[in-house]
């Protein structure tokens, strides 16, 4: 009986191995959201981070001249803006003092470089060169100078995987800056995002800025996300859908910032 059983296994060992490997893959796939699995993924990404260095070097070299020119322009623009903002800050402080407001908006941020944008065509994630040794943890907001990019997911000691807004499963609570309407933004496709189920009675104009609402433990209020490109009626005709053009171009992003402090968010 036992001999027959082992004989059977020997006859079909290739298929048995296939079954085991497929079952293992499924198990790992179903454990994607388990924090321990994410932590292991972060550690392995750390070990093999050297694979991404040639990619970084080539990107850096090819973008050096372009970046230098852009930085010069940015420097000039920021110098002018800085002078203007100093004046606004003084005025703001004076008005805050008058209204007895407490200025509590201060974020601790960590700069990071993008090591890899992922090889899947949908760009679900980016790998950045900071990790738990820099104070990074899961579910921290990832931003750039242009606006929101995503959130940290798997954290290794020196690298971190971040889910970005082009991921089809990414959701973020947003607010239209002028009309003050709240909504949930999700990625649409072909470079655009959308906010659904906006009442038809609300008037939103194309060009209106979309910011984070602050009703989240991850994203502080008032971070820029994008602007309204168009408004379309929903399929059932009961609502309207706002098509959003994000400010951040994921394809060209090289540096990001991670907001460390989560306690001092000030909600709008």
């Amino acid at each position: 009986m036992l001999k027959k059983f082992f004989g059977l296994i020997f006859d079909f060992y290739e298929y048995l191995l296939l079954f085991i490997l497929v079952a293992l893959s499924f198990t790992v796939l179903l454990m994607n959201e388990v924090p321990q699995v994410r932590a292991i993924q972060g550690d392995i990404a750390d070990i093999f981070s050297f694979i991404h260095y040639p990619n970084m070097w080539i990107n850096q070299l090819s973008n050096l001249v372009k970046e230098n020119q852009r930085l010069k322009e940015d420097n000039l623009r920021l110098s002018l803006l800085n002078a203007e903002m100093k004046e606004s800050y003084i005025e703001n402080q004076r008005l805050r003092g008058m209204l007895n407001f407490v200025d509590s908006t201060h974020f601790d941020i960590v700069p990071a470089r993008v090591m890899n944008r992922g090889t899947t065509p949908v760009f679900n994630s980016i790998l950045i060169d900071v990790g738990s040794s820099h104070g990074i943890g899961p579910n921290m907001a990832v931003i750039s100078t242009e606006g929101v990019i995503g959130k940290t997911v798997s954290v290794g000691s020196s690298t971190t995987l971040a889910q970005i807004f082009t991921d089809v499963n990414f959701r973020i609570s947003v607010k239209f800056q002028t009309s003050r309407v709240l909504g949930i933004m999700q990625w649409h496709f072909e470079g655009l995002a959308e906010v659904r189920e906006i009442p038809k009675t609300v008037i939103i104009h194309p060009g209106e800025k979309v910011i984070t609402s602050g009703y989240s433990d991850i994203y502080p209020a008032g971070l820029l996300f994008g602007e309204v490109l168009d408004l379309e009626p929903s399929g059932d005709g009961l609502y309207q859908v706002a098509v959003i053009q994000p400010y951040v171009d994921i394809n060209t992003i090289e540096e990001v910032f991670i907001i460390l402090s989560r306690k001092c968010y000030k909600k709008l």
Binding site: E14, L24, V37, A45, F48, N55, T119, V168, F189
Partner: protein
């Protein structure tokens, strides 16, 4: 034996580097060839079903873990299946006619992308029809072209 493992490891690193460095330049409307899949198919074709599926699982898991994939385990799943079925092509190049031989390889590539994209887009509100037409078929064609070129013109022996 050890020498073969080292050679395979070097080729794996090379495929990952090619996928990272050059494939972004070859992307057409978000469609890109999968050179890691090509390597799995070639290993399966040369070494058979056992080595093909073991290699597919290992490199798939590595690709997922180092942040090149989307869902951890997805590449391992698709590449295990691809490695296994490409093992059926071992020593078949001279025996089967060329059309049947490459048709089998293309079906394996197509099946790989069907599973990959359907799982990848599980949260999206795309229809299966849209995913097949927009992503699976173009990616399969793009990868198949490279497979045929490599398999047909490079002197890959039976071992």
């Amino acid at each position: 034996m050890l020498q073969k493992v080292i050679v395979l490891f070097c080729f794996s690193l090379l495929a990952i580097l090619v996928q990272l460095l050059f494939v972004p330049w070859m992307t057409i409307r978000n469609i890109r060839p999968d050179f890691i899949l090509l390597l799995v198919l070639i290993v399966g074709r040369l070494k058979g079903r056992i080595v093909g599926q073991l290699y597919g699982f290992s490199i798939g898991l590595l690709v997922d873990a180092i942040g090149m994939g989307s869902f951890l385990g997805l590449s391992a799943l698709t590449k295990t299946i691809s490695g296994f079925f490409s093992g059926y092509l071992k020593n078949q190049k001279g025996r089967l006619n060329l059309f049947s031989y490459y048709a089998i390889a293309i079906i394996i590539i197509f099946a790989h992308f069907v599973i990959f994209y359907l799982v990848n887009f599980k949260g999206a509100e795309f229809t299966t029809y849209h995913i097949i037409l927009r992503y699976v078929i173009p990616a399969s064609i793009y990868t198949s072209v490279f497979y045929i070129l490599i398999d047909h013109f490079l002197p890959l022996g039976s071992e």
